[in-house]
């Protein structure tokens, strides 16, 4: 299982998903009315490292973070 956490304003509880890749996560988010809008403009981190390609295999126990648009300061 992969734990997916939705950070900042997304305001959703984290979920445990049986997925093997970020592509599968993309499909999961597109099938959710609220998450769909965040998929397009969010960055993705796996185990706290930013990932820059959706061709990314996930392992059992990985932790994925969804990071929506930012504005510090």
């Amino acid at each position: 299982m992969v734990k997916v956490e939705f950070l900042g304003p997304i305001g959703k509880d984290s979920v445990e998903l049986d997925i093997k890749s970020l592509k599968e996560l993309s499909i999961y988010m597109y099938n959710d009315k609220e998450l769909k809008n965040w998929a397009e403009n969010s960055a993705v981190a796996v185990n706290d490292s930013i990932v820059t390609s959706a061709d990314f295999e996930l392992k059992d126990g990985d932790r994925v973070s969804i990071l929506p648009p930012v504005c510090g300061g």
Binding site: S26, M29, A43, I50, A54, L67, P68, G72, G73
Partner: protein
Amino acid sequence: MELYNTPLNVQEITARWYKESATLNCGAFITFIGTIREENGIEALSFDIYEPILKSWFEKWQKRAEQKGAIVKMAHSIGDVPIGASSYISAVVSPKRRAALELIDEFVEDFKANAPIWKYDVIDGKRIYAKDRSTPMSGAGILGKGIK
């Protein structure tokens, strides 16, 4: 890097950093202090931070500064910060003026674009995500492309 669950104590933080910088034989110390201003009827701004990635973002900047013989520093608030108070301070300490002036610009701009911090307007005690002022981080959108 310093995070506080309160508005920043600008005098204490900048005085301490300045004191430190004075022992480093550096000719330049530049601070950027972000102050909450009145806009759109807000009473405060509020911030969420994802610390693990903020930490690695900051470490990357420490290394980049080190290559120029400089040091970067930052402090940020978590939660509500009222109008007139400060939520963000960054600083560069460097032997030479030019390197410090360039670094503070790049450091503050990249902070705006890529530090994992989310801003909310506080109006009538409610937090409203500052969506229009927010920017996707670099690398954002891979899940959007992934499905096509």
